[in-house]
Symmetry: C7
Subunit: 90 residues, 7 copies
């Protein structure tokens, strides 16, 4: 089963443990007001421009307030918009 997001959206798998650990040296302090989160892209929307910017498998830093969580096949995921993706973690 797959989710195919429309337009400028991506589906990210939320990396909760890693959010707590420390991906590639990134630490997100609890004191941050608009605390960003780390997730792995598992589906990219239909927008052509978006497909040039991100791909399935990319770890991204995204704005916490974008989208909402649900579970898909045991994974915590979120559908977020391009404007909520802050940066790709390389």
């Amino acid at each position: 089963m797959k989710l195919k997001p429309l337009d400028d959206r991506v589906v990210v798998e939320i990396k909760e443990e890693e959010n707590e650990k420390n991906i590639g040296g990134i630490i997100i302090p609890d004191t941050a007001k608009e605390k960003p989160q780390i997730g792995k892209i598992i589906a990219v929307g239909t927008e052509e421009e978006l497909k040039k910017l991100v791909k399935v498998g990319d770890n991204v830093l995204y704005s916490k307030y974008g989208g909402d969580e649900f579970d898909i096949e045991g994974k915590k995921v979120k559908v977020i918009s391009r404007s909520d993706i802050l940066a790709v973690i390389e």
Copy 2:
């Protein structure tokens, strides 16, 4: 009798039991603030671009706050906008 939505709208049949069960492994926790819902598209709007993205019969995940419910021939339906469709479930 049919509903023909204008512009970028679609009519979805709300899959309530399935929202409660578990379509294709998707679980929407009650704790989700902006809880998405699952529905089946029964009519697609007049916008050409929209017709390339979704079709009648598609199961979609959509934002709960888009549109409002009514009954049509015994089915619970909702008219929602393209911007409220988060993803097609494949």
Copy 3:
């Protein structure tokens, strides 16, 4: 006497009894928060694109909060915008 709406507006005759009855199997529950209404278009605005989408005589489902009611020759009518028309009932 006629009303000629400007731009993307239409004049709809409000089908109150039918809203209470059940047009073509459509039931609008009182519990709906943004309860849509059913009306018959009696005049279409000057916008070319709009004229391709709806015509005089069409029954439409429209958002309750669009426009305001007045009486014209004994009929309850409302001037609403294209964006308030949810769907044509066929």
Copy 4:
């Protein structure tokens, strides 16, 4: 003395008695939340598109909250925008 409105504006003479009477069969109930009003256009703005839609002498139904009243040569008038004109009364 004349008023020449800029852009998409028109000057309407407010037909108060007629608003109270009943122009061409139109009755505006006091219960209407966003009660429209009836006025006669006495000057049309500089926008070319607007000039194709309305002309001096037209009776129009307009949104009550558009513009503000003042007196000009003994007449009650209002400068309103195209977006506040709901329909021309024919």
Copy 5:
């Protein structure tokens, strides 16, 4: 000394006495909620389209809430935007 407004702005000299008297038959009642004012244009912005609509010396009716007052060489003036100019008084 002169003020050269940018873009779609004009500088108007506020005609206070005349606002109180009665320019060309115009009376602005104190009861008007969004009371317009009368002023004389003393400088026109750099926007080409604006220059076709108004010129220095024009008396204009403008929205009271546009811009703010200051004194220049003993005259009360205001810098207002094109969207605040309701009409030219001819």
Copy 6:
């Protein structure tokens, strides 16, 4: 050391004493609700259109609520947007 503003911004040096005195006959009353201020442009943004409208050395009247103050080499300055510049003082 220089500040090079991006896009449609300019850096102005705030002329506080002159704001209190009276530049070229301009007096800004304390009673003005949205009191404009006088400043001298010391850097112009990268936008081509802006460069045609203002230049370094221009005294400008700008909206008080645009931007925020800081000190640079002993001068009080502010980074403001084109939309906050009301007029050039000539």
Copy 7:
């Protein structure tokens, strides 16, 4: 490890000590309501236009309310938008 910001965003390293000291003669008073901050750009977004305006290594003055802080490899960083960059410090 690197962050590759999307679209019109940049990653800045926050120069806290220098914010307290005095970069190139710039002093940001504590009394400033919308206190700007100084940072060094460590990654530039994918937008072509943005790449012409700023580059890695540039010290920039940016609006404090843009983006949020986190730590990356021991440095305090922030992902901010082009519209939050006030000026490049040269």
